[in-house]
Symmetry: C2
Subunit: 227 residues, 2 copies
Amino acid sequence: MGEPAAAQHPHPYVPRDLSLPGYVPGLLSHSTIFGVFVGAALLVTSLIWLLSGGSPRRSRVDRLLMCWWAFTGLSHMILEGYFVFSPEFYKNSSGFYLAEVWKEYSRGDSRYAARDPCIVSIIGLTAIFEGPACILAVYAIATKKPYSYILQFANCLGHIYITAVYFITAVLEGDNFAASPFYYYVSYLVPNSFWILIPAIISVNCWKKICAAVQFQAQNQKKAKIR
Amino acid sequence: MGEPAAAQHPHPYVPRDLSLPGYVPGLLSHSTIFGVFVGAALLVTSLIWLLSGGSPRRSRVDRLLMCWWAFTGLSHMILEGYFVFSPEFYKNSSGFYLAEVWKEYSRGDSRYAARDPCIVSIIGLTAIFEGPACILAVYAIATKKPYSYILQFANCLGHIYITAVYFITAVLEGDNFAASPFYYYVSYLVPNSFWILIPAIISVNCWKKICAAVQFQAQNQKKAKIR
């Protein structure tokens, strides 16, 4: 007698008792998935770097920031957008890249495959609100909008809050969602830490710029009153 | 034969199959708990309103904001601070007010008594970071610090993010955590909505003030260069 269909493909995720009926193993290798991601990220950031170099008044820092916001915004909208609206990605048998990404990523954090409500909630907010807001930040820096700093600050705070909730809930639930220490560090802990580190640096910079502007305005309006 | 001790106090929460061994029923009535909360809130806000009236240059809006930040900051630090560090509040048999608050509030959202990791995570961030940051906002407004607007904006965004995650996870988990429609609306939905509504209004105001300051600085620095 044959085993039931669902048992034919045991999933590779931890905890082992996670039930994922209909799971289809990934077709692409870790290096292929990672290679396509890095290639796409380099393509986007190179394009933004080259296109943003036209104006001599645009600083290198602003051009780097445009690269970051374009990269992170597109990641949220494409990768995380697919995840939010594809609850059964682990059943995908076509080798579709975005499904393969999440099958692979779930080795580092199985809460994605398990569709943990807290994960869906924070990734949903990131994909739907944070993604477009990051792309708006690219435009705001490019066109030197007055809301450029406050928008970047808002995006940074969103990243920090959401990554903090992401890490803290994992710890509170036992921090046992990675298939191996390799996946824990290389897929889960280290990459996600960048979404605390980089936003922290950018938000401190925005905070300083905004405080300087508010102080400048207050001092100059005081001077104008004295005259 | 007597029943086991844990069965002597069936809890009043929904879902009914939630296991809370050692639950002790609340000793204070809903109206007592609510009355003390409103009384304390009125005391704090009246004090801040009176004390902030000393400077004729301080606007009524700023004084109202100081009242809001003092009220919400102290709530986070005292009420939510107690919750975060008291995983077994539902076993408290002394009638201690803060334990009674969370026993009563769990009728509107049993995820508190159940110690849902997502709830603990977001309430922990609110109690530990957001609470003191709200009190700092009272000081920043009182002393007209240049960081007043950006700090208030950060606090507002924290409130909006955390309340959004709070509501969305409930919906994703079936939105069935209230003991009755009364508790759902009066204890859970309506009061928490204020932590989206009020921060939304304040953050729009801060956004405008910050954009105006950034634009003022950019224009005046441009004028200075032309001269």
